[in-house]
Amino acid sequence: MQQDNRHRNDLVRGMSRRRMLRQTACGFGGLALAGLLNEDQASAAKVSGLAPKAPHFAPKAKRVIFIFMQGGPSHVDSFDYKDELVKNDGKNIDFVGVRFGTFGKKSKRRLMKPLWRFKKYGQAGQTVSELFPHIAQHVDDICLLKGMHTNGVAHGPSTLFMHTGATALVRPSIGSWVTYGLGSENKNLPAFVTISPSATKGGPRNYSNAFLPTIYQGVPIGRAGLSAKLAKIAHISNPKMELSDQRRQFEFMQKINRVQLEAAQGDDRLDATIKSYELAFRMQMNAPGVLELSGEDEATKEMYGIGEKHSDDFGRQCLMARRLSEAGVRYVQINYGDESPNPRWDQHSNMPAHMNHARATDKPVAGLLTDLKRRGLLEDTLVWWGGEFGRTPFAQGKNGRDHNPRGFSIFLTGGGVKSGFSYGETDEIGHYAVEGKVHMHDLHATILHLMGLDHEKLTYRSAGRDFRLTDVYGEVVKEIMA
């Protein structure tokens, strides 16, 4: 018995040494090296369709981080200051209903001034409200789009539209399109991940490949409502077996598989299946490490607001996003969302609650921008911050605001967009986009363009028709290109 234990201990020790060596070779410090080392990984990638592909033209950005603010943050309370809205606070305006029950009906709505004070920041003197004091420090790096508009009025349709370019029809997510167009930048991790996604408001369809091959499906890490501390890729580790035991089993299993492959007299698919096990095992070795934040120094964590009550959770998501991007994940989406009928930023009856959400996200987002910049990643990473729509300049009930898909703000920063720049305007009160209008289709076209993809050429033939992310719409917004 004693001897058994000793034997086992030796094995475990031996394993951790091997594991250490492996991580040094394949870990994320030495990804490039890992790429050179593993010839067969590349061929597995080729079989799986995730091999890197050439873009249509030279890209400005290699990867995307999309920070999704679910529920519709208010632009008139954050980035789109309107003097006239302040001046006309409390006055009524005419409005024609767009929802069921009020569709087409005329009514009066009471204008409500922003609940927060605005200040000018940066060299560009961009006004930002007190909601986002940390993000405001970055205005000179940011490209604000203040003339956004989109389709749908309710969360479900608009959220789907933002992700897939369709409110009702089943279409692939933008992340799937990007991965389909460009393949993977890494060999041990998925190419498209979404951190803490919500299961509602479109749910899995927001990161679904739809009719694209399954490999372009987004891989969820955690889910909305689950602490980011627990977020991981499904089944990335074995809940029962010691690694050493599992390695013996794995080696045994692969030996059996190779015997069967030989008996089948060769078959590409069987071969690819064997390789998929190898890749899975490599993912199992590497992915948890990427999501593990303990190796980050305290100053970095502090910068993301990790350890602070309000911002800890989203801070972790943002830091994970940086680590994933750095490790070569092509498209990372961070979700500030939940499963409720009124998602996070959806303040129909209590606009002051916007402050809670700002507190939870402002520092983490700012921390991410700082971190990306100091690591030189911001140059070729495109960051997109925004919701599915904005909110109305007029009040709903006492102090709420309704959905506003007709005019709202988002921002882009990093790879290929102008910095310290603001594009587009809403009308005097912030209701309709009137100048420099950018439709969600246009934003999609622009993001693809920055990634080196022509949205009219990135097509996939399904059931006899060539589909694209932007359907028959979309214009690249050249005005915001750096």
Binding site: D4, L11, V47, S48, R99, F100, F103, G152, A154, H155, P157, L160, T167, A168, A199, T200, G203, R205, S208, A210, F211, T214, I215, A234, I236, N238, P239, E242, Q246, R248, Q249, F250, I256, N257, V259, Q260, L261, A263, A264, R269, T273, I274, S276, Y277, A280, F281, M283, Q284, E339, P341, V434, E435, G436, K437, V438, H439, H441, A463, G464, E475
Partner: protein
């Protein structure tokens, strides 16, 4: 609205350079004068000057990028660089009507008032710029520019030419006369296959071995692996019809419907929730699933099957069962991924129609009809007119119910047969009981009202009671000895005698009232004290009773109503003797509210003596009042009423519980998700460019012209009665014997499921963008035979699996592999990956955990949302709830059909997520452990023999030598090194072996 302008275009970029090039800088007047001089236009100089100076620059700056003949892309067919251009207009007609601001679409667009038509798209023109256009139109739109007009470029569809495409041609059976190797073919099917192989000089592969064949057949027909004894029996059966016997047994098994029903559910995009925005649960969708499974098991004629799904609710039914079944079948139309939350309900209605047309087109016709929604189909001979002929039918069908989040139509199913008698009995019982409960409720409500009134009345006007109206000896406060500043009051009329006194809430501890009664004789008395209660009163009024046994101190809560007739409370029973000094004193010591003193009553208690003189009991004294007849009657009545009320309430509770229990056990009256005829059934308009509010001409409801033999090219109109949707006619059209698509599409699907790929490799697309059939003659032969055989799926399946081509080996000689690398000629069998369901069901079968229960609702009760649903069932996969927002993980990982789409052919991807699932998921590990436990329970077997069992169950064969060696070595090694005691280690080692088998290539693939 108007689509031409809706088409987004870029006009934002200022094109100053162009303005210069036009010579505007050089002087507008000069240029206008020149034109005038040349006599090209008879426009006034002022008009020309206005156009050249004001209007043209705006057009160039904002419009030409998309609406000029040299634009990169002309949007909406509209040109604004010539007079004819705007006069003729684009898809929506003239853009400018000279003189009319109202009729000029251009004005409407630049005014930005219509949300659906705003131009230029990126920026609203400023007021001055809009005014320029308005003035120009009012002036009569002077415009000297010549040039061609745009107008929609229409693809002209030639129906006659379209009919020459292979899939629209009539079916034609052409036999194969001669083969080089006549002996090879076992069936007609084989002749078609061999003919093409021979034409290419190729030989088919050899027949596969029996073990491989039976595994293939089992998975193909019932979706489960054969048991070791099934294999053994088949391998040993030397009779000629050994194989046919297995085929017929499997076709007759109920497992068959569970396998083949699932294939249909794939194309019917079956799901039990809507997914999308706000996902709605489809609580009764399981009935459709069971209907499909049942239809396959009883081999329902496929033409009936189609008709029931399109128009089941409208077909005449003989029995209630038939009616129910058909109602459920039509659920097919309602099961789509509808976004019920869509706020624009007009749009939602059309989205549903579009989804239905698209689904029906792909499911039954193998056509992508969606392309014809916005324009003439670009590839197939389907004009937009045909699309809206079909849309008229579906638009005339009601699918949605109104609401902010819309709902779907459900109808109650009828009950019949023996269940009907039971149901009727239940209904009668339930009605009777419910009636009883109701009348009781009414009575209680009536009494409660009266009681309330009585209380209110009592509270306000309780009559003061004269002392003489009371029984026993009563001492009024006026006769008592007082100490301290007591105050007389009649404020509350609820008192005895002329009033009562209170301590004025002062002199606490110093005031006292002493009652000394003149009792008629010695003996036992009940002592009661009267007060009127209230919140301002003291809660603990100390009262002392001096009696024969001493002094008893009691606290009275004067905030509480006195329990006896609302007048008095009892202080207890005491013995009083002469000369001992007796009485009752009330003090205000230690109190903090008003202390009320009204009267004290002494009631003699008559003690009954037993034989030995011991007290046996006492008479009961219930009320305080006596010969005051009125008061007495009132009190008695009140008591009776209250008693009755309590009794009634008790009865009600019991009956209600009974009713609830009865309803819980009620024979279920199912509901079906289905559709209805729409109240506004009728023909509908073409939607220009698919825009729902841009209506073109109305078209008669009808079908695909190209696929309707004999229909005029103007359209295959249907004859539809008033108020009818036309679904019956559509269903009849689909199953016309001469329909070129329906039977071809279906037999191709069946072929695909058995051979791994279709004769037409694109099963959902029989159009020009699909791929043509590899064996057109075989396809037509099968389609014709299928209809001749009474549209029987089982006969078709049987014919295919009995063919020799089905029974070929996956292994082939190099010459065949080279001559037909993609196996387009079916010269060998396709190696196929098991579908998600087969993987799961086989694992559960091997672990011994599979629950074979059939049918029924399988969503756990009270599930409101599909997200986060915890799947914990071990029933066959076809019964695992199918949600659009959360799929069973194993399904998701192993490419189950996406329930949002029509899936005729599943993908079989190879992904690391599958590997992770097989390596690390609790499900696989638990089943592996259960399988190991099962194996270890087989006593007296060597490891070797256990391994045989495992391999036979999982891969249908015994392990190869190398597999055996590796496994035994692994087992031995794990026995030494694993954790825990020896039994634990052995179990773990076997579990690991089972898991490795589940993850092995030969388990995942079907040879």
């Amino acid at each position: 609205m108007r689509s031409m302008l809706l088409q987004r275009f870029v006009g934002m970029v200022a094109v100053l350079g162009i303005c210069c090039a036009l010579g505007l800088v050089g002087g507008v007047a000069v240029r206008a004068a020149e034109i005038k001089k040349r006599g090209e236009e008879k426009l006034s100089v002022e008009a020309l000057e206005f156009f050249e100076g004001k209007v043209r620059p705006l057009l160039v700056k904002y419009c030409h990028e998309c609406h000029a003949h040299d634009a990169r892309k002309i949007r909406g067919g509209l040109l604004l660089d010539s007079r004819d251009g705007w006069a003729k207009g684009g898809d929506s007609g003239p853009a400018v009507v000279p003189g009319s601001l109202e009729k000029s679409l251009l004005i409407e667009a630049v005014r930005y008032k219509n949300r659906d038509m705003q131009m230029p798209p990126k920026r609203k023109l400023d007021a001055a710029e809009v005014a320029v256009f308005e003035k120009w139109v009012k002036m009569g739109a002077p415009d000297p520019r010549k040039g061609k007009a745009g107008g929609p470029k229409k693809r002209v569809i030639d129906i006659e030419k379209g009919r020459k495409f292979w899939s629209f041609m009539p079916l034609r059976v052409e036999k194969i006369d001669r083969l080089k190797d006549e002996g090879w073919a076992w069936s007609e099917i084989d002749r078609y296959i061999l003919a093409r192989l021979e034409a290419k000089g190729l030989r088919p592969a050899s027949d596969t071995d029996r073990r491989t064949l039976i595994r293939r057949l089992y998975f193909d027909l019932i979706g489960l692996p054969p048991t070791p004894s099934d294999i053994e029996a088949f391998v040993k059966d030397e009779s000629k019809d050994a194989y046919a016997k297995v085929v017929d047994r499997l076709l007759g098994s109920k497992d068959y419907g569970e396998r083949w029903g699932r294939h249909w559910l794939d194309v019917a995009r079956f799901a039990e929730s809507s997914g999308g925005g706000r996902s709605l649960m489809f609580r009764n969708a399981w009935r459709y699933r069971d209907y499909v499974i049942d239809a396959y098991n009883k081999d329902k004629r496929f033409d009936d099957f189609i008709q029931e799904q399109i128009a089941g609710d409208l077909l005449e039914s003989k029995t209630a069962e038939e009616r129910n079944e058909r109602m459920v079948a039509t659920g097919y139309l309602a099961l789509g991924p509808t976004n019920y939350e869509q706020q624009d309900k007009g749009l939602l209605r059309m989205e549903v129609v579009d989804e239905q047309i698209d689904t029906m087109g792909r499911t039954f016709l193998g056509m992508t009809l969606g392309c014809a929604k916005c324009h003439e189909h670009k590839f197939d001979p389907i004009p937009a007119r045909d699309y809206y002929a079909l849309a008229g039918i579906f638009r005339s069908t009601k699918v949605l119910t109104p609401g902010n989040v819309s709902g779907y139509v459900e109808k109650t199913l009828q009950v019949s047969g023996p269940r009907k008698a039971a149901y009727d009995q239940y209904k009668a019982d339930e009605r009777a009981l419910a009636g009883l409960v109701n009348s009781l409720k009414k009575e209680i409500a009536r009494l409660s009202k009266r009681k309330k009134a009585a209380i209110v009345k009592g509270k306000r006007h309780p009559r003061p009671l004269p002392v003489t109206g009371l029984v026993g000896v009563v001492v009024d406060e006026s006769k008592a000895k007082r100490v301290g500043p007591w105050k007389h009051s009649t404020y509350s009329s609820n008192h005895i005698g002329r009033g009562y006194i209170h301590d004025q809430k002062m002199n606490k501890g110093g005031s006292k009232v002493v009652f000394t009664p003149a009792l008629p004789r010695e003996g036992m008395y009940e002592v009661r004290i009267a007060y009127n209660h209230g919140a301002s009163r003291a809660a603990r009024v100390p009262v002392e009773i001096r009696h024969a046994g001493g002094v008893k101190k009691i606290f009275v809560n004067q905030q509480a109503a006195p329990p006896i007739d609302g007048l008095m409370t009892s202080l207890g029973r005491y013995e009083f003797k002469v000369g001992m000094g007796h009485g009752v004193s009330v003090s205000n010591k230690g109190t903090n509210g008003f202390v009320i003193v009204d009267a004290v009553q002494f009631l003699e208690v008559k003690v009954k003596l037993g034989v030995n003189g011991v007290a046996k009991g006492t008479t009961k004294i219930q009320t305080a009042t006596s010969d005051n007849a009125l008061r007495k009657a009132q009190a008695a009545d009140e008591v009776r009423r209250l008693l009755k009320l309590d009794g009634l309430k008790n009865d009600l509770r019991k009956l209600e519980a009974e009713l609830k229990a009865m309803r819980r056990k009620a024979p279920t009256l199912g509901k079906a998700m289905t559709v209805d005829e729409s109240p506004d059934a009728g023909d509908w308009h073409i939607h220009i460019r698919g825009q729902i509010r841009v209506l073109g001409p109305k078209v008669k409801r009808g079908f695909l012209t190209v696929a309707t033999p004999g229909a005029p090219k103007a359209g295959a109109d249907a004859t539809i009665g008033k108020g009818e949707s036309g679904r019956i006619q559509l269903a009849e059209w689909l199953v016309r014997r001469d329909h070129p698509l329906t039977s071809r599409v279906y037999v191709n699907r069946v072929w695909l499921h058995l051979l791994g790929k279709g004769i037409v490799p694109t099963p959902d697309n029989f159009g020009t963008m699909g791929r043509p059939p590899s064996h057109p003659k075989l396809l037509d032969y099968l389609a014709t035979k299928f209809m001749d055989d009474g549209w029987s799926t089982k006969k078709l399946v049987r014919a295919i699996v009995m063919s020799r081509v089905y029974r070929l080996s996956t292994q082939a000689e190099e010459s065949l592999k080279k001559g037909d690398p993609e196996n387009d000629l079916f010269g060998r069998a396709e190696r196929r990956r098991l579908e998600a369901e087969a993987i799961r069901d086989a694992i559960l079968l091997i672990s011994g955990k599979l629950d074979r229960k059939r049918g029924g609702l399988t969503i756990r009760k009270f599930t409101q949302y599909d997200n986060g649903y915890a799947f914990n069932t071990v029933r066959r996969s076809v019964y695992v709830p199918m949600f659009r927002n959360s799929l069973l993980e194993l399904f998701d990982v192993f490419d189950v059909a996406n329930p949002n789409l029509v899936v005729g052919k599943r993908v079989a991807s190879t992904r690391p997520t599958q590997a992770l699932y097989l390596m690390n998921s609790p499900f696989v590990m638990e089943q592996a452990r259960a399988a190991a436990e099962r194996l270890l329970k087989l006593k007296d077997l060597a490891d070797d023999e256990r391994l045989d069992r495992l391999y036979e169950m999982a891969v249908g064969r015994k392990p190869m030598t190398k597999e055996r060696e590796l496994t035994l070595k692994y087992l031995a090694q794990e026995r030494e090194t694993g954790e825990g005691g020896s039994d634990t280690r052995i179990l773990q080692a076997w579990a690991n072996v089972c898991q490795s088998v589940f993850a092995s290539l030969d388990f995942r693939y079907l040879n």
